[in-house]
């Protein structure tokens, strides 16, 4: 074993009763905790069918996390296809990498490309607001790095419950501090977002995070493991028990011994480690030291190995005892499922191993070599030499279950649409006097959703990097990409859950229209879309209808405007009991400037004194 530092795990490798492939083959009747791990009976049966035997504990861990809604998109795949189907040749012309990779990549010209993506970290942020939001930023930034890009900005569309609810103080201040604490420490300017308060989000706040990165065309990297004999390396933070609290059934791999083990309920982010990881990766890219790279997010090593292997041409062999651990009591299944932050996995040509290690030494980043690319078409994971996983990686990463869930228009939808304002607004007369008008304006301006957001944005660094041409309070954030030419990008994120509740199809379209307008208003030409679809449970046919309508609406609108969706994220089960949040499709539009010097700030300035003001549109 070669590692960046001394590892002690090997010596203790045999402390578990390891469930090997051989053992699994001879013990078909072992009871497995597949239900506790979130698999349905039909899904477990499918795993057994694929393998031709019962899965080992480690295999069960991998299938269960990779086939979860979060990783497999099993409820939305059939609908999300529309983003790929409704694409014209013209929409594809600047698209270098589309949906399916860690993040989409759009050509900016002059050899530059931009990648951006929006993702959710909703439920972790409700449990532990600071760390949940912080690790949300960390996760999306790693997605951007893994494309070969330098991250250059972040944004944070947020939805909270009522501002005066007793729990809001905890959630709001924790989330904002977490986003600032992590993003500021990475040196990424925060160039915009949204903040909406609505009681519908009380138990299900939405914390979406967006990151933008830029790269030279030649630096583009994809998550695949190719080239037989190339080495697999895991680098960055050590692996701990993070994110597997719910899967503690794996604490005893052989299932015959139920020693309880302490696993963290939440993940704690280490922004310093991530900042160093960013610089370290950029140096690797610059010197072309990695063939393929993948960030470790949800599903950790399970995801990284199975995706790298299935996107590549061959197979992969990995020795799990070589993983550097923060907690030496982790079992193989837990190591495979761990969601410890600030880790990356890369494929390195043996010729570059020494140079790779030199870069790690410069930045003081720990790493360990885990195995290599093979020509077996199998993902084989061993524990101290014994095989504990032997699968076709595609069955783990890509061939998960797909559901065409039933959906129907809610019974109450007609009544909802027919409904009109009641309460105060219906009874209130239009302001008749100047005084009344003044009072109305003040009331509107004082509402938490309309008021000045600088109490949030002043906690975010918008200057770092020196390339921020626009940020809060502007309609879109604008970042200069090339200091020589002024080439740059604009990004805006928008959504309106109330519109989408009234009409999920039109609501998604309006979200796109608004972010598209905000980008256009800044002076940029809209080029690409990323979306984060926040909905309730797909198992509720009425929510499923909102979701299906939302995707149909957004994809139709993208076709209409001629702008492709390059990636995004789906967040489901945002509901408390039987009460789902309003459908909240957050849409991010990215636009291009040939010269950010031509950006238009929003707001009037003294220099505009005497100029005419026009209202445009319908």
């Amino acid at each position: 074993m070669t590692t960046g530092t001394q590892n002690t795990s090997s010596a203790d490798a045999r402390q578990f009763n390891i469930d090997t492939v051989e053992h699994a083959a001879t013990t078909p009747d072992t009871e497995l905790p597949w239900a506790e791990l979130g698999l349905k009976q039909n899904e477990f049966d499918e795993v057994v069918k694929i393998l031709g035997r019962r899965p080992t504990a480690a295999e069960l861990a991998m299938y269960s996390v990779m086939w979860s809604e979060h990783c497999s998109y099993k409820s939305t795949k059939v609908h999300l296809r529309q983003f790929g189907d409704k694409l014209t040749e013209d929409m594809k012309k600047d698209l270098m990498v589309g949906i399916g990779e860690n993040a989409g990549v759009t050509n900016l010209g002059d050899g530059w490309a931009v990648t951006f993506k929006i993702e959710s970290h909703n439920s972790p942020s409700f449990v532990e607001p600071y760390q949940g939001a912080a690790t949300g930023i960390g996760g999306i930034v790693r997605d951007i790095i893994s494309m070969g890009a330098r991250p250059v900005a972040v944004m944070d569309p947020l939805r909270f419950g009522a501002i005066d609810h007793e729990d809001s103080q905890r959630v709001v201040h924790g989330v904002v501090a977490g986003i600032g604490g992590y993003g500021n420490s990475l040196g990424l300017p925060n160039i915009g977002g949204e903040t909406v308060f609505d009681p519908i989000y009380q138990g299900n706040p939405l914390v979406n995070a967006l990151a933008v990165g830029v790269l030279r065309h030649e630096d583009l990297r994809l998550a695949n493991a190719s080239g037989v004999g190339n080495k697999i390396v895991l680098f960055g933070a050590r692996t701990g028990g993070d994110g597997i609290g719910g899967a503690s059934v794996l604490a005893s791999e052989s299932f015959d011994d139920t020693k309880p083990s302490k696993r963290p309920a939440v993940q704690v982010g280490d922004p310093f480690a991530e900042k160093v990881l960013i610089e370290c990766c950029l140096e690797l890219f610059k010197s072309s030291l990695v063939e393929g790279i993948q960030d470790l997010g949800a599903a950790g090593i399970s995801c990284a190995t199975s995706e790298l292997a299935s996107n590549g041409e061959g197979g992969m062999q990995v020795e799990l005892t070589d993983v550097l651990l923060r907690d030496p009591t982790l079992t193989p299944g837990e190591i495979l499922m761990s969601e410890s932050q600030e880790r990356m996995m890369a494929v390195v040509n043996p010729e570059n191993v020494e140079a790779f290690e030199a870069v790690m030494a410069t930045w003081g980043v720990e790493y360990s070599w885990l195995g290599e690319v093979t020509d077996t078409n199998r993902l084989i994971i061993t524990w101290d030499g014994e095989t504990i996983v032997d699968v076709d990686p595609k069955t783990v990463a890509h061939d998960g279950p797909v559901y065409d869930r039933p959906y129907h228009r809610p019974a109450g939808q007609d009544a909802l649409e027919a409904d009109r304002f009641r309460d105060s607004a219906a009874g209130a007369d239009l302001p008749a006097s100047g005084e009344a008008l003044r009072a109305s304006v003040l009331e509107l301006m004082a509402s938490p959703n309309m008021c000045d957001k600088s109490w949030i944005t002043s906690q975010y660094d918008r200057y770092v990097g020196g390339n921020t041409a626009l940020a809060a309070p502007d309609d879109a954030g604008v970042i200069r990409v090339d200091e020589e030419t002024g080439l740059g990008v604009a990004v805006a994120t928008d959504a309106n859950g109330r519109y989408a509740f009234l009409d999920p199809y039109a609501g998604a379209q309006l979200a796109l229209a608004e972010s598209y307008r905000n980008v256009a208003t800044s002076g940029a030409i809209p080029m690409a879309v990323s979306d984060c679809l926040n909905y309730g449970s797909p198992e509720d046919p009425e929510v499923m209808w909102q979701l299906a309508e939302g995707i149909r609406g957004l994809s139709d609108a993208c076709l209409e405007l001629g702008i492709p969706v390059t990636g995004g994220n789906v967040s489901l089960y945002n509901q408390t009991g039987a009460n789902p949040i309003h459908p909240t499709p957050v849409v991010a539009t990215l636009g291009k400037f040939d010269d950010v010097g031509r950006r238009t700030p929003s707001g009037f300035h003294a220099e505009a004194d005497g100029q005419a003001v026009y209202l445009m549109g319908v």
Partner: protein, 92 residues
Amino acid sequence: MPTIVVDVMPKPEILDPQGKAIAGALPRLGFTGFASVRQGRRFELTVDGEVTQDVLAQARKAAEELLSNPVIEDVVNVAVLTESAQNESQSA
């Protein structure tokens, strides 16, 4: 005035980036005898009057509810700071 000390540490299974950074710096400065470091917080609450059982109970409750975040931290100590204890420990 009497003082109650409350010590809060990150839970052992939770990553402690602060402790990690310090542990990394120690050997560079020639301090090689330590295997790991964890950083927590120490609060000193000054009591207005006598430390009654009630005040101590309040301190324990405040430690759990306000001074620590039970999701990621443990309260490892709530105790009255005696003058002698202070001196003793300083000279330890």
